[in-house]
């Protein structure tokens, strides 16, 4: 009996040690993570409006992504993607393609949503998708970022099937449904863009008449 236990222990160790060797890097903050969270939270004025402070709240996706430095093991990534897939909501009329001209405008706008006392956005400032901050889209816009992949010729390369249209919509609505901990915001889930606005950006990507696919 004792021998069995000893063997079991040895076997466990043999399996566990290589697993430990491959362990992901330490979570940011190490043993001070909890204290760091408290310190961060207490860094703000106590008379800040509640909705400002709510922007410091983290959902499970944010927390888990931070812990893994945005590079979670595949198993964890799959869980994050699965949970995020269930969040996607569609426009009431079910139409996923809007007006590409509206989408073109939204793709260029990088303002909106700044709060605080120093340099907040004026009330009613349009929130854009700011797609150009990270993606190449229409050829004529040269001031594009490279954090995300080029989306130039989006539907020329991928076609305009229902699947592609739905993919584009879903990806913008909740990027983490496809790649956990991506740098891309979850525009729909976090109410940055409305479902209708997302359909305009989908049109900007997919419509054959859109400058994304024209030049």
């Amino acid at each position: 009996m004792k021998l069995k236990i000893a063997l079991f222990g040895l076997l466990t160790a043999a399996i566990a040690i290589p697993a430990l060797a491959q362990k992901a890097p330490e979570a940011p903050g190490g043993k001070y993570a909890k204290e760091a969270e408290q310190m961060f939270r207490s860094s703000f004025r106590t008379d800040n409006p509640k909705y400002w402070m709510s922007r410091l709240d983290q959902d499970d996706t944010m927390k888990t992504c931070g812990t893994y430095r945005d590079n979670p093991p595949r198993k964890v990534g799959e869980q994050i993607e699965k949970a995020n897939r269930t969040t996607i909501r569609y426009p009431v009329d079910g139409k996923l393609i809007g007006d590409w001209k509206e989408g073109e405008k939204l793709a260029a706008v990088g303002t909106g949503g700044h709060i605080g006392f120093i340099q907040p956005d004026p009330a009613g400032r349009v929130r854009g998708g700011n797609c150009y901050a990270c993606h190449e889209l229409a050829k004529k816009e040269l001031a594009y970022g490279t954090i995300g992949p080029s989306l130039h010729n989006f539907s020329k390369l991928r076609g305009t099937s229902d699947d592609i249209i739905k993919y584009a919509y879903d990806k913008i609505y909740n990027s983490n449904a496809f790649s956990a901990c991506t740098n891309m915001p979850r525009f729909g889930l976090l109410n940055w863009l409305t479902p209708e606005q997302i359909t305009h950006i989908v049109a900007f990507l997919v419509d054959p008449e859109s400058p994304v696919n024209k030049d």
Partner: protein, 271 residues
């Protein structure tokens, strides 16, 4: 002083001409920006602030009618050469890890008798409203020009602060899922045309940290590191942390630790 001012004016005129000719093509933009920085390097408007800071440092001010010349920024009272480059660090007298700004304010309170609220009211300048802190930090920073950044964070409190800064660096929240790492955690990326440094590496953090405080052309003002980081949080669509908040000092400690060994080139000049 007047000579410096003329140099600055000439530098700004050249810069304006260069900005005017900036092409939208990527590599060209980078080249032009480099040229533009070069043109400005000889006439950085921050030079004016540095001179002002030098005056403020030596001037007897405040309820105690004292200068800041006995202020200990970590190398001993009045020792300024290289002081900026070794901050933030742990100070025994306050039992705190302090950055250059929190230490400076500490000196203004303890040596000159100012009230902290009073002295930090204008912690950054606005058009028509100058900031003593900006001027003093520019002066103190310039005294580290040519010195390597040296924040090994070997004291347990410093090591802890660096770790807490790392935690904040990767922490995601807000309506855009942002963290510092989203834009500053990888190599060779751009936001629009702005090149982004990878602040998790020595090269990236060094390139970023060595030029602060820095004159920002787009803002028409010198920005301190506190100002820089608090504005990053604004851009992440979070509320602004308080001036001198520990979370900002933690981020600074993390970044300076990562940048350690990089030679300072300050005051800098940036977009």
């Amino acid at each position: 002083m007047i000579q410096r001012f003329i140099r600055t004016l000439v530098g700004m005129a050249v810069a304006t001409a260069v900005i005017g000719s900036v092409s939208a093509q990527d590599s060209k933009v980078a080249d032009e920006l480099a040229k533009y920085r070069e043109a400005l390097a000889d006439g950085n408007p921050a030079d004016l602030l540095e001179v002002k800071g030098e005056g403020l440092w030596a001037e007897k001010r405040g309820p105690k009618n004292a200068s800041l010349e006995q202020c200990d920024l970590g190398l001993g009272p009045g020792k300024l050469d290289g002081a900026y480059a070794q901050l933030p660090k742990y100070f025994k007298d306050t039992n705190k890890v302090m950055d250059v700004e929190s230490r400076l304010v500490h000196c203004m309170v303890s040596l000159q008798g100012f009230k902290q609220e009073e002295v930090t009211k204008q912690w950054f300048s606005r058009p028509g409203k100058e900031s003593d802190i900006e001027a003093l930090v520019t002066f103190i920073g310039a005294k580290s020009n040519g010195k390597p950044i040296n924040v090994p964070a070997t004291h347990p409190e410093e090591a802890k602060m660096a770790k807490m800064g790392e935690y904040i660096f990767y922490r995601r929240s807000g309506p855009q899922d942002f963290s510092c790492s989203i834009c500053h955690g990888q190599e060779g990326k751009r936001i629009r045309l702005q090149e982004l440094g990878n602040l998790t590496t020595k090269d990236g953090a060094g390139f970023a940290m060595k030029t602060w405080p820095s004159y920002r052309v787009s803002q028409g003002a010198v920005w301190t590191m506190q100002r820089r980081l608090i504005d990053c949080m604004r851009q992440a669509r979070w509320p602004e942390p308080n001036y001198l908040a520990d979370s900002i000092i933690a981020l600074e400690t993390y970044l300076q630790k990562t940048a350690t060994g990089t030679v300072m080139e300050t005051p800098g000049i940036k977009r």
